[in-house]
Point group: C2
Chain length 421, copies 2
């Protein structure tokens, strides 16, 4: 019954006969992404063991402390709490970000920072500033579904370069760039999530961080370094930002409070040259004028009180047992013919199913047994290739549910294999 | 000294030699808008009598009640207060909007509404969904600077149709549409702010509302009806939405809490067919995923308690004396050769300076005497024409300051005239 309703909505999602179709922009053809719509619907359901949503568990939020801070800020800042913020973001929050990033090994100035409405807006602003239709960019394969969607909406020509456990296959990137160069072509930028990438869980090694920066200089492109998971290290320290080696302003750093702190404020940032930040500010004026004020004031105070630093340690303790539970369950219940590695942070396992398997079939069966995940097809431009994979998020399920859910998935995969043999 | 620093920043605003210029998108050339950057800087200064910013005065916000509601929501909804909202917006807020718009004479369903991060985001989403580079649209002349900026950033070909006190000159619109039709061409949409338009203060008459809708049907285009000032009626009742006569889903209604309630939450909405809302939701997923949660929860509770209805009456009492003060001061101090009309709501007077005057020269002199306004050039695509006008906002100055500031402007204009003669 659940599956039936799900299937109905899946097929219904994109209506062909909408009345204004002829009036709509060409980019709409690029923007079709059934998987993301389906994903959002699965996330909204609470009758499932869900490995689908890449969202933090509210149980780890520092709610009591945030409530106290919110009430204090409300009383102390009531003259600005309900008013517009500035387009670049609250000055005190940007000053806090200077401090935060300086601790992280960077050396930003306030005017090299802009507050954005989530990292998703940062992606939109970057795409708006860089991309003409048909411009070439490189992304990781697999890559964040929301980044693919944004870049497609600006009609970029996307080249995917595969990742392995230590990140992007840099040699393949160089071969591609060299091939372009011989034709007198180049890319606008490389989009990379260096730490615990969504969905791959891969972390770009320090050596490779330096290599992609060298390539950026040699082949003249920008690097969009997106770091939403960079504070979610459960076993060791954070690696240096690519940006920390950037002496020629080629790296545009995106960061976010959404994964390691709380997402509801929709507050993130871009750090780049002051010239680029000024352009981003112009683009933001035409996009949402300014980010919501309350969250900026609250985050600023939370930062001053040291709550963000505390939280970075707290989330590691909170999510590590979930990562371990999923790793153990996968070892125990999944067939040896499936492939994955154990990530060292973030929210995700990225599993290649045994040969001949389509993750979309598995999802239908899994939903009947009330287990959800996201098919890999959402995270690649070519969904046929992606459908051999599944993304399993451990962030929002308790260890015992993780074991239970993975056991069910393992049984379904093995049962399907037995049928085939 | 002030003027010197202002001029310096003005010229400095757009650097020609930014390092990545060759990598940037073509749309950047359309996005240059010195006036908006200057405007934002003037707004930030507190040493001026400022008629520049079109922002509400926090003195009229229902701060004490909102503080109480915020604290209650914080305690009662802490499990969702810090988490992501859905892309379409909180269900209860959308249900409240159904009620709000139903009172306003519409008949929306929840799925015909999406919550946006300010009306500015609604404009961005609409532009993203409709516009290919070079597509034709019509806007009012003068029109909201942020709308012009957004439409330019999508490289629309913009036709401006002049407004008068009762709104758009509909006959000129029809002549333009007829001319296009003879060439086999059409426009994608008309963008209109029917009530107390920023900057003109004009209100589209009921008769003209029906006429533009008839034209939309006859010449096959959409109407983007943007209503941020529609609740700000200081002398009589709100006129019907154009949308209320729309039987063929041609009107996409934008509304906002920013002007009549509070702007800091960055919460606004789009009301259109469920098909269009589904597309807008897809576009929003790729733009900021979801609007900030806290403001949605607080607004929903404020609405339930009747606070929004109360506030609509309160703002009329608050702003009417300011409108009156500006009207009287203009009559008293401005030369008879300047032209304006007295609006019946909103925030703005739009004044045509005496022949031969450039508002940019006046602004320089006015800033030396610590009075600010916005030059009309910001509100037109052709800034030469616009520079004959000034926009005077009465929303954020007390009546006595309004008199003082208008007296200074009147003296500067008359002095300049005397010099010329």
């Amino acid at each position: 019954m659940i599956v039936k309703s799900y299937k109905y909505r899946f097929e219904d999602y994109f209506k062909e006969e909408i009345v204004m179709k002829e009036k709509l922009a060409d980019r709409l053809e690029e923007m079709e992404n059934k998987e993301l719509g389906d994903l959002m619907r699965i996330i909204g359901r609470d009758d499932l063991i869900s490995f689908a949503g890449g969202i933090p568990d509210p149980a780890v939020f520092p709610t009591a402390k945030l409530n106290r801070i919110t009430k204090e800020v409300l009383d102390e800042k009531q003259e600005i709490f309900y008013q517009y913020s500035s387009t670049e973001g609250d000055d005190l929050l940007r000053d806090y970000l200077v401090e935060f990033l300086t601790k992280g090994g960077l050396n930003p100035k306030r005017e090299e920072l802009i507050v954005t409405s989530g990292s998703q807006q940062a992606l939109d602003l970057v795409a708006k500033l860089f991309l003409n239709p048909g411009d070439k960019i490189v992304i990781e394969k697999p890559a964040y579904v929301g980044a693919i969607g944004t870049f497609k909406s600006y009609q970029a020509k996307i080249k995917e370069v595969p990742v392995e456990e230590d990140g992007l296959k840099v040699q393949l990137l160089e071969e591609y760039l060299q091939g372009l160069k011989e034709k007198g072509e180049s890319i606008k930028f490389l989009y990379s999530v260096p730490d615990y990438s969504n969905p791959s869980g891969a972390r770009l090694s320090l050596k490779k961080r330096k290599e992609v920066l060298r390539l950026a200089e040699e082949y003249d492109f920008y690097i969009i370094e997106d770091t939403p998971y960079s504070e979610l290290n459960y076993y060791d320290q954070r690696l240096d930002y690519i940006k920390s080696y950037d002496s020629t302003d080629r790296v545009i750093l995106l960061g976010s409070f959404s994964k390691f702190f709380v997402p509801g404020f929709r507050i993130a940032w871009i750090h780049s040259s002051s010239e680029f930040i000024e352009l981003a500010s112009k683009a933001k004026q035409n996009t949402d004028l300014a980010s919501a004020t309350a969250g900026q004031l609250i985050l600023c105070q939370a930062g001053k009180e040291g709550l963000l630093g505390e939280q970075i340690e707290r989330v590691a303790e909170f999510y590590r047992p979930r990562l371990e539970a999923m790793s153990e369950a996968l070892d125990k219940y999944f067939p040896a013919t499936a492939e994955w590695f154990k990530p060292k942070g973030g929210f995700f396992f990225w599993v290649k199913l045994p040969e001949g398997f389509d993750s979309r079939d598995l999802l239908k069966e899994a939903l009947e047994e009330k287990v959800a995940f996201v098919t890999g097809s959402a995270f690649t431009v070519d969904s046929t290739e992606g459908s051999k994979y599944i993304r399993l998020s451990f962030s929002n399920s308790k260890p015992e549910d993780i074991e239970k859910g993975i056991k069910i998935l393992g049984r379904l995969i093995k049962g399907y294999q037995d049928l085939e043999l």
